[in-house]
């Protein structure tokens, strides 16, 4: 991939993550203040709620997209940091291999869990 394009895509995914992660964090984390104003979930982490979300197709789609964008953005960022700490042409291919294999593994794991949970 062209270096500039990969970087541009990191910025682009960052913009999307503002919305996706913003919603996720407000819903999952701000569970005390928001319900007082009639918003958000009260007990987002009890299993019944997890089950309800996991069986809603929109949530499953949301998680797979979110997972992919967050992993790309985060691992591209880690790659940039590693490239700076070990700045050498010899280390570049190892760094690329490391971030791609970790990122893809986590993407498949998360997707399998989200889709699998939807199906059971």
């Amino acid at each position: 991939m062209k270096e500039g394009l990969g970087w541009f895509f990191q910025l682009f995914t960052g913009l999307f993550l503002v919305a996706l992660l913003g919603v996720h964090m407000l819903g999952m984390h701000m569970d005390t203040l928001l319900p007082r104003f009639g918003m958000g979930y009260k007990d987002p982490l009890v299993f019944q709620e997890v089950l309800k979300r996991g069986h809603a197709p929109l949530f499953v789609a949301f998680y797979v997209v979110f997972l992919g964008l967050a992993l790309y953005h985060g691992f591209y960022g880690l790659r940039a940091v590693l490239m700076e700490v070990w700045a050498s042409s010899r280390t570049l291919s190892s760094i690329n291999m490391l971030v791609w294999s970790l990122g893809l593994f986590l993407f498949f794991l998360g997707t399998a869990v989200s889709v699998g949970f939807f199906l059971v």
Binding site: D31, G77, L78, G110
Partner: protein, 147 residues
């Protein structure tokens, strides 16, 4: 290749030490260090998070066991740090997206005294990021520990 430290250009070759200090840094440079730390922190959380939330596929007992384990105050505090870090990273990230693409920097001018510095002219934007991040972290603190 051990080049003596003194022989190297100081600004660029301090390695990780240089993240914290390598001369007279401005506000934006510290925001950059914090952006990096929060980005790596949230990424670390995301990796653990994918494993932790995957236990939901083994049913309610496994999920309850995971949640019980994560109820420890150390993890609760960690979760707070993730929230605060995310708020800062998101706000500063939006500033970076604008400025790296050339917005919020002012028009380029010829280098004639008195010089104009894009980043410094727009320092209020950086201040706004800091203020909003502190407010966000405070609201999350109330949500988690006070209410």
């Amino acid at each position: 290749m051990a080049i003596p430290l003194k022989a190297r250009p100081v600004q660029n070759d301090l390695g990780i030490v240089g993240w914290g200090w390598a001369g007279r840094y401005g506000l934006e440079r510290y925001l950059y260090t914090l952006h990096r730390l929060t980005g790596l922190g949230v990424l670390f959380y995301l990796v653990l998070h994918i494993f932790a939330t995957s236990t939901r596929i083994f049913g309610e007992p496994a999920w309850k066991a995971t949640m019980g384990f994560l109820h420890h105050p150390a993890f609760r505090f960690g979760e707070y740090l993730v929230f605060a870090g995310f708020v800062f990273h998101a706000l500063n990230g939006v500033r970076l997206i604008f400025q790296e693409l050339g917005y919020l920097l002012g028009k380029p001018t010829p280098p004639v005294f008195p010089y104009s510095y894009g980043l410094r002219d727009f320092r209020p934007v950086a201040f706004l990021v800091v203020v909003l991040a502190v407010v966000g972290a405070f609201v999350a603190f109330c949500d988690m520990f006070l209410v």
